[in-house]
């Protein structure tokens, strides 16, 4: 679904929740007259299960679209090995191969990207423009953060991940 320039993606989990409660509400309304009398506000609430995640996704993706040119201009292209705790807060650009992908179903994908010098976790807090899969060669732009904000190894808080060569 496209709103303006933003391609809004609802996560699978949100759709599953919506379908589950739709079936639940349908069955409840069939067997209970009390539920039927409340449908006037239960149905809008049901749709809010899709509207709220869509709105959040729209806001996060439009924000990411706004900041991407800033990071694109500031990020220095470096090898993964050079990323360390001293670089927390620095915008970086790395190129590498995607070795693992997690949590795509939550619209919060996490990637393990490797180049010849090393590997690093890349976390994204919204959905991506492209469907990035294992073995894709990608360019990642983002900011170095600690895995658990105040502790943990350095990871990249991804602002943009683009395929630069098809696997």
């Amino acid at each position: 679904m496209k709103i303006g320039n933003v391609d809004v993606k609802v996560s699978i989990i949100s759709i599953v929740v919506f379908v589950f409660f739709t079936i639940f509400l349908f069955l409840a309304s069939v067997f209970s007259p009390e539920v039927r009398s409340q449908l006037i506000w239960l149905i809008p609430m049901l749709f809010m299960l899709l509207v709220i995640p869509s709105a959040l996704n729209y806001m996060s993706r439009s924000h990411y679209a706004d900041i991407e040119p800033v990071y694109d201009a500031q990020a220095k292209k470096i090898r993964i090995k050079l990323i360390n705790e001293g670089m927390v807060g620095k915008p970086v650009r790395v190129e590498g191969v995607v070795e693992r992908v997690h949590f795509k179903f939550l619209n919060r994908p996490q990637y393990r990207v490797a180049d010849r010098s090393g590997e690093i976790s890349v976390k994204m807090f919204t959905s991506t423009d492209e469907d990035v899969k294992v073995n894709d060669v990608v360019e990642v732009i983002g900011q170095v953060i600690r895995r658990y904000i105040v502790a943990g190894d350095p990871v990249i808080n991804c602002v943009s991940i683009r395929k630069i060569k098809k696997s």
Binding site: K76, K77, I78, R79, L82, N84, G86, M87, K90, S117
Partner: protein, 280 residues
Amino acid sequence: MVNIPDEHPDQPNNSVHRWLEIAVPLFSFGGAFIAILFPMLGISLDFHVPALGCVLASCSLTYLAWIRPRKDIVALTTPLYSVIFFTFPIDYSTAIVLQVFYAVSLTILLVRLKYRFGNPGTAASLGKELGGSLKTYIEQTRDAFSDISPETAHSAAVVFVRFTEGEYDDAAQSSKSVLGDGEYPDSVSPLIRAFGIIREHTTLLHKSLPRPVTYLTFSEKDSHLLVKPQVPSHDDDMEFYTALDNALLLVYSAAWNNSVQDRPHLLSCQAFAQKLMSST
């Protein structure tokens, strides 16, 4: 090339860690065992007493998770769950089942912690003191930097710290300030070459430029000070980046051996230096 033995840093608190690892199943299952045994013996017992075993086991697990360089957030938060599960009033028989399941969960988390999150950190890995192969390298190259000036040593520290922080332009400028003097005896010429290599790399990194066709490397006579062999290779990338790793480690050693006031800053960058040492 400097001959550095493959060192495994000592684990000074190994026995304490071992006891704490034993304490996790011991306290949690022990508490559950007491909770089952006492009613069978006809002794009335407040459930919170055996549940304390799970709380203590959780605290042990949290400590074991905290001292590892890689943090396991699940293990770190177990005391919170133990308090939530066991402080609220609950039926005695239900509480026993809960405690047994909790003890099993803590044991699984302990096994997961040991196999997936590495060994506990040492003083070196926690950045409190110099350790491992880096320490050996610095000790072995101490004599080579005996006659460099404090200013050059300080500049070496600045260059390394700025490079670690990703401030490549600052690192390039600091390298340039050293190279501008040009009044050093032959014995420190590898260090000058190191500054030159770092300046070249940092200038390229600052402008996000690719590797040039021709680039600076160490000479054959510098090889006794280098961590990684600088052999001519068909792989230009490898040769190019090996020169940078060697240059950074050389600069780190020069700074450590001759600029005592900069050691706290260098210690904070030790993890990066260790990474350079161990990487291929």
